[in-house]
Symmetry: C2
Subunit: 224 residues, 2 copies
């Protein structure tokens, strides 16, 4: 990274350098083990300046979460062009998601792991981002279901459940892809698209998976 | 609940009562807000006895995570009978999973939310349980892929990715089902089975979802 020390740099630029250094340090060391000394050194500024700009380690971490959450949701939205068929929009969105998480592995670790592993108020910041992604996917599935001629009325509750499942699958897969050598963003997106769309597509065409009769009876007993 | 105060109760029984009370309190109040006074009162024992048996709030929370993680993985394994077709095994496993998380909402909150939201060493306990579930699903998909005659060799990396996606989807969906009125365990299991199996089934039959040509080119640029 090698940030340059300069007294003439505008505050906004310096703050971004501090956040770059903080995301990298929090992502690699974890919230507790990360030291403000290390972050200041990596950003090429003095520790008092970090405190002056970002106030405390907790506030710095919150600022990291907000910046990374905003960058991720913006990347996904920017990757999708409305007006295209739903499967194409989902494919574009998934590629944008996995490309962003692959290119910003420390940012993703901060969002997916660190922010949820270190209590409130951090977890609430990530929950807000997650809700936005779920809402986005819910709308995508609802539009696709309305477009599908054979089964125009996929129930609302089912759509919400499918969106939750898809977002949970994407989160899980992004963490796995970043931790597994040789898995590209495109491969991760294709894996999820295969998993999700072939299934969703069948569902919208009125071809759900049918439970076997015996399992049905067992299930009925289990849930009553 | 209404635990009965009795001096003749064996230690193991008392400990389970304390853990019952602790899971309920941690699940509903959160780790930090939960008080040892409240847990002791709910268990019908004195606070010193809780400390004598479980040592500290942290150790008590760890004991809750271990017990709930063991109960969940055992419920899933018990729900699945080997020797049946893979889709039937997955359906049985998903029903066992969603039935268990629906019947033990506080236990699931402790595992999925509280344990991951309050740092180490708790998060590591849940990670171990998750690895076991992923390994179980990976094996299920690998067996199904070998059985499928049209595409006997789904690549190992693809199988691992699909298992990660499926477990992430199940976790996400269980939290949503418990938070959403009127969603039964059977409906949650059916939603995920529809989502997952129709997709996986196509994949194993050699019918992956095909990306559009233009998206392909965009993706190739994005990941290089």
């Amino acid at each position: 990274m090698g940030a340059v020390k300069s007294k003439r740099m505008p505050r906004a630029v310096r703050e971004q350098q501090m956040l770059d250094a903080a995301v990298r340090t929090f992502g690699q060391r974890g919230y507790r083990a990360a030291s403000m000394d290390e972050i200041a050194e990596l950003a090429g500024v003095s520790k008092p300046l970090v405190y002056l700009y970002l106030n405390s380690k907790e506030d710095l971490f919150t600022a990291c979460i907000r910046r990374e959450a905003k960058a991720l949701t913006e990347a996904v939205r920017a990757g999708v062009r409305t007006g295209l068929p739903a499967d194409r929009q989902l494919w574009d969105g998934l590629q944008a998601f996995f490309t962003h998480t692959a290119e910003n592995p420390d940012g993703w670790t901060v969002l997916h792991l660190q922010a949820r592993t270190h209590g409130e108020p951090f977890a609430a910041e990530v929950a807000a981002m997650r809700e936005e992604l779920v809402a986005f996917v819910t709308e995508l599935i609802a539009v696709a279901a309305r477009e599908a001629h054979r089964n125009p009325s996929l129930p609302e509750g089912e759509v919400a459940g499918l969106a939750e499942a898809l977002v949970g699958a994407a989160e899980s897969l992004a963490a796995w892809a970043n931790a597994t050598a040789g898995v590209t963003a495109r491969e991760a997106a294709a894996t999820l698209m295969n998993f999700a769309w072939a299934g969703l597509g069948n569902l919208m065409d009125g071809h759900p998976w049918s439970p076997p009769a015996e399992a049905d009876a067992v299930a009925a007993r289990a849930v009553t």
